[in-house]
């Protein structure tokens, strides 16, 4: 596996402030990941801890293409998008660790929460289930004569569900402003692409729906951003949905319990060189966006913020047991 490492693109539509913001949010995503891995090793996190390492450029670049009236339907490896949408660290920690004050009151955990003020609607575990929901969200705005683009995500495995197909056909028929990112990170749990699908590119499915489709390098944040901006512009022009397949690599196991010994070492070594965060740091230094020392101190302060958020949340009690009996129905 001696594929060459492509240079990152330098988007002509991105300014210095945006580059700094991409970098910061990618670092936040990476450090959140590392923090959750540590908590898991210490036995202080429970439930599944799903690493998104390798997915930072895709989640940050895509969410950054949305505007204030748009909406994010993230999946399990999109923590970067939560940061782009301004979610607070302590809100995330309470949700992930199911502590008192979690937006889900302990009824669910991880990034499954919804925060309508922040325009974030989390996923359920069932893969593919949120694609039609995201489509319907945009349809409601359209019925009222408003415009709201929804961005949602699915994996190389999840794109084999029936709901993927129904939702993308429906959204294409209705010309809904929906963007679906297929994060092709080579594996669905232990299953490589060869077990999941037989087509060459997952974005080719767009042809069957009559919408736009494109496959790109998912480790290049500016490329992801530019591609998503095109999709957002088409969506706002009433041209309907876009399917964007981003090629990435899941750098760890499906979740932290999984030793991913089924992944060939050479494959991981290749993708290690493709690391979206490391490469973007170098890119920003080379393009004189920030000095190395400035990036180091940005990272240091992010790490400190993570520590503070964990310290503030970890000793909070779990939600009171009575919460189990509330809100099955709304009044």
């Amino acid at each position: 596996m001696s594929k060459s490492i492509p240079p990152l693109i330098t988007s002509s539509t991105v300014d210095k402030q945006q580059r700094i913001s991409f970098l910061k949010h990618m670092l936040m995503a990476r450090e959140f990941d590392l923090a959750m891995q540590r908590l898991n090793r210490q036995g202080r996190a429970f439930g599944g801890v799903y690493s998104q390492t390798g997915n930072e450029a895709t989640s940050v670049g895509s969410a950054s293409a949305l505007g204030p009236n748009d909406v994010l339907f993230p999946m399990h490896r999109n923590i970067g998008g939560h940061f782009v949408f301004g979610q607070e660290l302590d809100v995330l920690m309470k949700a992930f660790l199911a502590r008192e004050g979690s937006l889900m009151r302990g009824t669910d955990g991880t990034g499954h929460y919804a925060d309508p003020q922040k325009r974030i609607y989390g996923n359920i575990s069932h893969l593919g289930a949120m694609i039609p929901v995201a489509a319907g969200f945009t349809m409601a705005s359209k019925l009222r004569g408003e415009m709201c683009v929804a961005m949602t995500y699915i994996g190389d495995g999840g794109s084999q569900t029936g709901e993927f197909h129904e939702a993308m056909n429906f959204a294409s028929v209705q010309k809904l402003p929906l963007i679906l990112i297929i994060e092709n990170n080579q594996y669905a749990y232990s299953s490589p692409n060869s077990i999941e699908f037989a087509c060459e590119r997952l974005s080719d499915r767009a042809l069957g729906y009559g919408c736009h489709g494109i496959t790109i390098d998912g480790t290049d944040v500016e490329l992801v951003y530019e591609t998503c901006m095109d999709a957002v512009n088409r969506a706002r022009n009433g041209e309907g949905p876009t399917i964007i397949e981003t090629i990435t690599m899941r750098m760890r196991g499906h979740a932290e319990h999984d030793d991913f010994s089924y992944v060939p070492k050479e494959q991981l070594a290749h993708w290690q060189l493709m690391d979206p965060v490391d490469r973007y740091i170098e890119h920003c230094i080379a393009k004189k966006v920030l000095k190395k020392s400035e990036i180091d101190s940005m990272r240091e302060s992010i790490i400190q913020d993570m520590r503070n958020a964990i310290d503030a949340v970890i000793d909070l009690p779990f939600p009171p047991a009575e919460e189990a009996f509330r809100n099955v129905f709304m009044d």
Partner: protein, 324 residues
């Protein structure tokens, strides 16, 4: 009061709510130009336009999922299943997304999934099912099974205005078979309130949907012999009017429960358990159940008639109950 069929009464409720509330819209297969497989939405497209009467592709999961998304974004969708049997294709959306949202997010998902259910019309195993009990155990979904035109109207109004997902089972055999006076204009019957169809003192029949008509027929037959039967139509399975059922059991001391759905795992079992738990001391006989045979709904009239419950079977079982 105008006289309406069951189908007209449902359409009347939908039309009134759509006129009053801009956030109500309908989505389903062939509901626009064609007016729906049973013509329930005939004329709706002309009145409300194609933004509020949405013809969708044959994608039950996408339709129900999109309705959930629209509901999260301020709308009150009403989804038509061409036949309630096809709700299985959207089961995941309803059960795992709609049914858990209030609990997980504290956000209501006002929406109604409605359509024709039930057998007795020679429609085969895939157009006849009574699947209401599945949704009872799903949690987070309200389940409505109206038996009469007036009830269908009032309960539909309540379902649309409810802040939770409601699964609304219309019995296709009743659509054009029964007519009655239905209150004009806005008419609402709160979910979770049973109706005493007729009062009695010798035994109670607890029922809902099409079975109410069988129960009433049996009560009338028995009346001629001087036996007085109380018929309670629970109307909604979730929420369940336990109080009304327990009160009737305490009053008559003998209870028969009947529904058109299959027996095992059916809602009659739940009702029976509640009565045994809460009114055991009042019972003069074990609770009886009359329901369909545990099989798919067969096609040929001879088979279908044998599989479904009917007034004769209810009468026979009731006589046994009275003699116990």
């Amino acid at each position: 009061m105008p006289v309406m069929t069951y189908l007209e009464a449902i359409a009347d409720a939908l039309r009134i709510e759509m006129r009053m509330d801009e956030s109500v819209f309908m989505i389903g297969e062939d509901i626009g130009t064609y007016g729906g497989a049973f013509k329930l939405t005939k004329g709706f497209l002309d009145e409300f336009g194609n933004k509020r009467i949405i013809d969708a592709p044959i994608s039950e999961a996408a339709i129900i999922g999109a309705a959930i998304g629209a509901s999260l974004n301020g709308m009150r969708p009403v989804v038509e299943m061409q036949f309630m049997d096809f709700i299985t294709c959207g089961f995941n959306q309803l059960v795992n997304v709609a049914g858990t949202t209030a609990y997980r997010w504290g956000i209501g998902v006002p929406m109604v999934v409605r359509g024709p259910a039930g057998g007795g019309v020679g429609a085969n195993p895939f157009h006849s099912r009574n699947s209401e009990a599945w949704f009872v155990q799903a949690t987070g979904l309200k389940v409505v099974c109206p038996s009469s035109p007036a009830d269908a109207k009032g309960l539909m109004t309540a379902s649309i205005r409810d802040n939770n997902p409601v699964v609304f089972f219309e019995h296709k055999g009743l659509y054009r078979k029964i007519k009655e006076e239905v209150p004009e204009g806005e008419y609402i019957i709160p979910l979770g309130k049973a109706r005493t169809v007729c009062e009695g003192k010798d035994a109670s029949i607890i029922c809902y949907g099409s079975a109410v008509h069988m129960a009433v027929e049996v009560a009338e037959r028995m009346k001629k012999e001087g036996v007085s039967i109380e018929v309670i139509d629970i109307r909604t399975l979730v929420p369940f009017d336990e109080e009304a059922v327990i009160a009737s059991a305490r009053k008559t001391n003998r209870v028969l429960i009947t529904h058109e759905a299959t027996l095992t795992g059916g809602f009659a079992g739940e009702i029976s358990a509640r009565i045994t738990e809460k009114a055991f001391n009042s019972l003069d006989a074990p609770v009886k159940r009359v329901a369909a045979f545990d099989s798919p709904t067969p096609f040929a009239p001879t088979l279908e008639k044998a599989m479904l419950p009917n007034a004769d079977i209810i009468e026979q079982e009731l006589r046994e109950l009275l003699l116990y």
